[in-house]
Symmetry: D2
Subunit: 134 residues, 4 copies
Amino acid sequence: MTELFEFGRRVLGEQPFSVLLGTELEVLEEGKAVLALAVREELKQQHGFVHGGVVSYLADNALTYAGGSVLGDSVTSEYKINYLRPAKGEKLVARASVLSSGKRQAVCQCQVVAIADGGERVVAVAQGTITKVE
Amino acid sequence: MTELFEFGRRVLGEQPFSVLLGTELEVLEEGKAVLALAVREELKQQHGFVHGGVVSYLADNALTYAGGSVLGDSVTSEYKINYLRPAKGEKLVARASVLSSGKRQAVCQCQVVAIADGGERVVAVAQGTITKVE
Amino acid sequence: MTELFEFGRRVLGEQPFSVLLGTELEVLEEGKAVLALAVREELKQQHGFVHGGVVSYLADNALTYAGGSVLGDSVTSEYKINYLRPAKGEKLVARASVLSSGKRQAVCQCQVVAIADGGERVVAVAQGTITKVE
Amino acid sequence: MTELFEFGRRVLGEQPFSVLLGTELEVLEEGKAVLALAVREELKQQHGFVHGGVVSYLADNALTYAGGSVLGDSVTSEYKINYLRPAKGEKLVARASVLSSGKRQAVCQCQVVAIADGGERVVAVAQGTITKVE
């Protein structure tokens, strides 16, 4: 495990909300981050799908991690998400990457997929700006 | 209490994720929704502020409620959020309203404010599209 | 006329694209900007409405002007727009205001209205981030 | 040339605004569209770069073309764009593709690149929703 990955995992453990949800860091390398979340009843909405807010949270956090991999300590300044289909399955995975970065900001994109029965489907796509904390 | 408000409150109680977070419906009337959330340790990130994912969740849900107040059973199709400042205080309140609506979709805006020491500050603004479930 | 307004008008005259389209600055004061554009055949799409790209241009430019009124020389870093209805009429007006600003960036919102027969209708809403040029 | 491409080119010729700007359709196939625009003085802003409104227009139009390739006659309902760097060069090219589509809507992404001295650089990325005209 790299130092960057170790650092990322420690930060995730210091986010009480990520601990509450059960998020795990799968990948963190320069320009790229993957976060995963096991689906459980508590994360759903009234129709039995994962709540959009959970999908958004995961996308937002993956965007921040991707941006942070090149900027250091960072926050999401803004993002936009399109939900493509209901999120159902055993696990959600958010894969984010950096499209462009400068000294203070990075623009990143993210896909969130739902894994069910061994297959995966894209459930949301997001795009946003990550800003270095100074 | 109106029938619409009662219905909205029941739906919120049927969203396990909203129950997990502790969200409350404060207002639901035609074209307008207000959701509130008491801030607690579990909802924070590593710097002690409310996690952006919580702010996003609240904005997303308020947008859906506002859109749903004119469309009936609805989901958020997409939205965009700008975080304006760190979210800290005792309570978050998301106020959403419908800007325009047709048979199938409504475009809504939302402000999320943080309440601290009796005052409030806008911490995020969001804009998105709500789609009727058919 | 204030110095700020004079400056804004001069900059608009230095944007060849704004001159090509015929954009006029109606208001520029701290935190607020209004741009207007007379509708003519050349600005339309195939269904006879003003092209979405024109509406976007006007919103984008109004956002930059609003942000620039508090930041100085600025560019739009990102924005999102929802088209609410077809843009038709004699004139488009984009009204933008600053929601929040720091040293380097401002978050702004904008409404674009179409004026027809003396009345006006909102045709688009936008939200974005303006960044100071350094 | 396919029928779809022929149709797309005819529609572009029926958009007075696209004719004013000089936009050309380079590719239109199921789920994919490429639009190009030669840079000229009239399309610039005050710093000598292509005006953001032109970049937005091209992204918006490419998104609509991509969505339209699977939906038929369509309009952009909403989109978000991040400008990554100043747009300069001889030509702008917007490449859009469909991420997901249903009967009435498609979610699409687009990259706008600037071509200069034979090389290209991404100057903007966009993501949005295209809706079938009914």
